[in-house]
Amino acid sequence: MRRAVVTRLAWMIVVLFVLSFVVFSIQRTLPSDPVRIFFGRNASKELIAQKQHELGYDRSFFSQYGLFVNRLFHGDLGTSLRTRRPVVSDLMDFLPGTLELAGSAAFVGLLLALVIALTGALRRKGGAIVRVIAIVFSSAPTFLLGLGAVLLFYRHFHWLPAGGRTKSATEGNGWVLLRSIAKGSPSKTWEAIRHLAMPAVALALAPGVAIGRILRGSLLDVLEQEHIRTMRAGGLTERSIVLRHALRNALLPAISMGGLQLGLLLSGVVVVEVVFAWPGLGLYLNQAIRLADFPAVIGVVLVLGVVFVISSAVVDLLQTVADPRLRGRA
């Protein structure tokens, strides 16, 4: 088990370096020179040359990569052209919002997956319905789900807010949900949850249904296996057979599907934030793209990339936990 963790962490670090290299290469192939953009058209040649030297832009490709990594370790991602603030400060403001949204979506998605997998699976009913639901939700663009939800629950029923994280526009950053829970304020928590509900569900539907379908199929397969027959013959109740014996064995394919859905969740979160005006990395990124604010774009990509790489490592380790047979192997 320890070896599996170490191997997986080593691989994660390799991937993080590759990610930084890819992002760096993208940055270097930008058609426009960020220094020129930063200082504007009227800047003197000397000033630009001096700044370029300061930033190391006159050095070789790899030595620049070294500088890039060095700056990364010091938390320096440059300055946003739009907000004129260090990109890192912007990211720190917006990352919690995205993490709260993506985390809630992951939670809702897993819950949904469990409901789909366990409902009717025991009586082998509802396969066709699950299939239709799966196709519908894996085909619906995230923004269509978002738009539909806004029109229905905000515009028509007035049940839920249309967007944002709180009622006031000034408190939109940081750990809104977690802070309100920590402060023990039920009204603020309820408000945060009401704001989270639509975007989180819109984001969770597709991955939740996809994982649920895989888990259901895998559960039905496992229930046919001989060790389950052994348990039935041993007089165990159907409930404990499913929950204690079958489910864990059925998890493996569902966990790999979860890993797959992770990438889609992280790109989906960007779109959902735009639809719901959610002040997170996605909204920040959307504005940055429209204004060609490349330091900001690169910063967001890097952060989302790191989140993805770390969470896929966690998913992989979960597989090792779920199946003891994987532990001996590297």
Binding site: H227, G234, A322
Partner: protein
């Protein structure tokens, strides 16, 4: 009421709705099992024997339409509530299934698994010791995948033994255990174990250990056993009574020794006659005619009639029911037979038994060497630990002349499959040389014929392709393909069929035809009959005999099945842990085995012991991972002495036998 049956089945019928009609799995079956009795339920695949055991467990499943009566410990296992049936399974029954790999939840440690059945710490240790599991405390912490096949089956049996033999009395209005003898049921074991092919997936020596374990459980705990099996010989070694099933009906039942000595149903007689013999005196096997009936379209009369020599019009019209028969005026034995002609069979048994079948001839052997392996070795990276090597084959030399046939026998993991791959050129040895003389590459007949045929080409095309690859023209190839089909007994219109459209026997014939298209001088066979029913396997072996006689092809036959080896081969080589420990002419080896392992292996084979429990070879082979000092068999050898543990014995000549054992002096060497 201690004599009352603990389980009784009356007029049980089970049907499954299938796409191509209704499958009649059971058609009016009666069965009673008494306390402490071992009943063998024998039949080929599709005879309904597994469905019957599911019904006893009250687990026929929602898709089965069940009629009749099944009562276990006083509880109705068909119409009782789910909770009642579950309670019977939990407290009175134990079940062991075929596949020891799949029978244990792979995500639970052994200890946790046993606790699911109420076997906690000490009780679990005691039960594991009861089923002869070594190092009990350590086992409880292990995962199922860390155990060998034999150990897993023992753990599965331990799990089955978790039943305490008593239904909780407050459970229902009736107290089903009332009529049972309290003193006996307090033995803390199940009343009845149901074992569905429990030894089929195990090696011969482990098989014998498990069977004797069942026998001991019965003797010590009065635990009755329903042994569901296709293997008559295995059944005979422990069972008191046998129930022979065919097409969902009981065709014959009675004391097993008596039934085997004097079968009264033609199916039983044919089943006995089709057995591959292991002892020299037994008659040659007679393959059964035809194939098992389609369970979705059973005839209205006796289902065995189309394959029966005695069948008359009456047989084809009426469905015979089991009726008591008396043998030699004694009707007390409880023999029942469902055949209109049982009397004929009992009076004149020779009407079904055997013509003399061809015995292997050695005349075709010549001096042409078709295979010569000189001290080949092959090892692999050990699974789970990259630093260690798994030594599959170590220092093996084998040579074979044209027309000769050699069987390589051994238990799983002995290296026989690796040896086969080396001999066929599919793998390269780490050390030593492989030479096929001037004869070119040998051809291989695979264990799973279906998987050895390319799924998207018709079998005719696959044969023709080989001929074309040898440079033959298309007309000649087509002509030759027809000849080859004829030789292997396939109708030429089957040539257009894809492999998946053929039956198992047809696929194996097609695979042999394709191998012969390359005109090999050596045919290497990898367990070619292990996937086939007994009635088919004799026919495939006879085909291989014929090929050898007609074409002078040499055979290298790799198998775990001693009887098949004896039937097909002139010479037999026994492998143990990557080495050949004994090689001798077949007749000699089976009559007078020399190496202690060969002796143990032969002794463990149920076929070698008519109706008695085979003496077991203790333990299991050591792991092939890492290096071993001395003789690999030393850990299980009854006559082991110090030299065996330190010095690897060489394979040396002892009067026509090649033998690797320190205990038996080589020729001309006086101890």
């Amino acid at each position: 009421m201690t004599d009352g049956p603990i389980a009784s089945i009356r007029n049980l019928s089970v049907e499954f709705a299938a796409k191509r009609g209704t499958i009649q799995a059971l058609r009016g079956v009666d069965l009673e099992i008494a306390r402490g009795e071992i009943v063998a339920l024998v039949g080929e695949s599709g005879s309904g024997k597994s469905v019957l055991s599911s019904c006893l467990l009250g687990m026929a499943g929602p898709r089965a339409a069940v009629k009749g009566e099944v009562v276990v410990g006083g509880v109705d296992m068909l119409n009782g509530t789910a909770a009642q049936r579950r309670s019977v399974r939990k407290h009175l029954l134990g079940a062991v299934f075929q596949d020891p790999l799949g029978a244990l939840n792979p995500t639970m440690r052994v200890g946790r698994l046993l606790s699911e059945r109420g076997l906690y710490r000490e009780r679990a240790e005691q039960v594991l010791r009861d089923v002869a599991v070594p190092d009990v405390a350590q086992r409880l912490r292990q995962w199922p995948h860390q155990l060998s096949g034999g150990l897993r089956q023992r753990v599965a049996i331990a799990f089955a033994l978790g039943a305490d033999g008593r239904l909780p009395t407050n459970n229902s209005a009736r107290t089903p255990t009332d009529h049972l003898d309290e003193a006996v049921s307090a033995g803390n074991t199940p009343l009845l174990l149901i074992a569905d092919e429990p030894t089929t997936a195990l090696d011969v020596s482990v098989q014998a250990q498990v069977l004797s374990l069942f026998d001991r459980l019965r003797r010590e705990h009065s635990c009755a056993l329903l042994l569901v099996t296709h293997d008559l010989a295995a059944a005979a070694s422990v069972a008191d009574r046998v129930v022979v099933m065919y097409a969902g009906r009981v065709c014959e039942t009675g004391p097993i020794a008596e039934v085997m000595a004097r079968p009264a149903h033609p199916y039983t007689a044919s089943l006995l006659a089709a057995r591959l013999p292991l002892t020299p005196a037994s008659p040659a096997p007679v393959p059964m005619r035809g194939s098992p009936p389609n369970p979705a379209a059973l005839p209205s009369g006796c289902a065995f009639a189309p394959r029966c020599d005695l069948a008359t019009d009456a047989c084809r019209q009426t469905l015979p029911s089991p009726v008591p028969v008396s043998i030699g005026g004694d009707s007390s034995s409880g023999r029942q037979v469902a055949c209109l002609h049982s009397a004929t069979l009992l009076v004149a048994p020779s009407t079904v038994t055997h013509l003399t079948s061809p015995t292997p001839s050695r005349a075709t052997a010549t001096d042409e060497t078709v295979l010569s392996l000189v001290s080949v070795s092959k090892s692999f990276v050990a699974p789970g630990n990259r630093k260690l090597r798994l030594h599959a084959v170590t220092d093996v030399s084998v040579s074979l002349q044209a027309g000769q046939s050699l069987a390589v026998v051994g238990e799983s993991g002995c290296g026989k499959t690796t040896l086969l791959r080396l001999a066929s050129g599919l793998a390269q040895p780490d050390d030593g040389t492989v030479n096929w003389g001037t004869s070119g590459r040998p051809q291989l007949v695979f264990q799973d014929a279906g998987a050895s045929l390319t799924p998207w080409f018709s079998i005719g095309r696959q044969v023709t392709e080989r001929l074309r690859a040898r440079g033959l023209g298309s007309n000649v190839s087509n002509q030759r393909t027809r000849e080859l089909f004829d030789l292997v007994g396939l109708d030429s219109h089957v040539a257009q069929a894809l492999p998946r459209q053929l039956s198992g026997g047809q696929r194996q014939r097609a695979a042999i035809a394709r191998a012969l298209a390359s005109e090999p001088r050596l045919l290497i066979c990898d367990e070619p009959i292990s996937a086939l029913d007994a009635s088919l396997s004799v026919r495939i072996l006879d085909l291989l005999h014929e090929v050898r006689r007609e074409l002078g092809v040499a055979l290298l036959f790799v198998t775990h099945d001693l009887a098949a080896a004896r039937y097909i081969a002139d010479d037999v080589a026994v492998m143990y842990l990557g080495r050949v420990v004994e090689r001798a002419p077949s007749i000699k080896l089976f009559a007078n085995p020399q190496h202690p392992y060969t002796v143990g292996l032969l002794a463990a084979s149920p076929a070698a012991h008519a109706g008695t429990l085979a003496p077991t070879l203790e333990g299991e082979p050591p792991s092939p991972i890492g290096q071993h000092l001395g003789c690999a068999f030393a850990s299980r050898c009854p006559g082991v002495h110090d030299r065996c543990r330190t010095e690897q014995p060489m394979l040396l000549q002892r009067g026509g036998t090649e033998l690797a054992c320190h205990l038996i002096p080589p020729d001309g060497d006086l101890l």
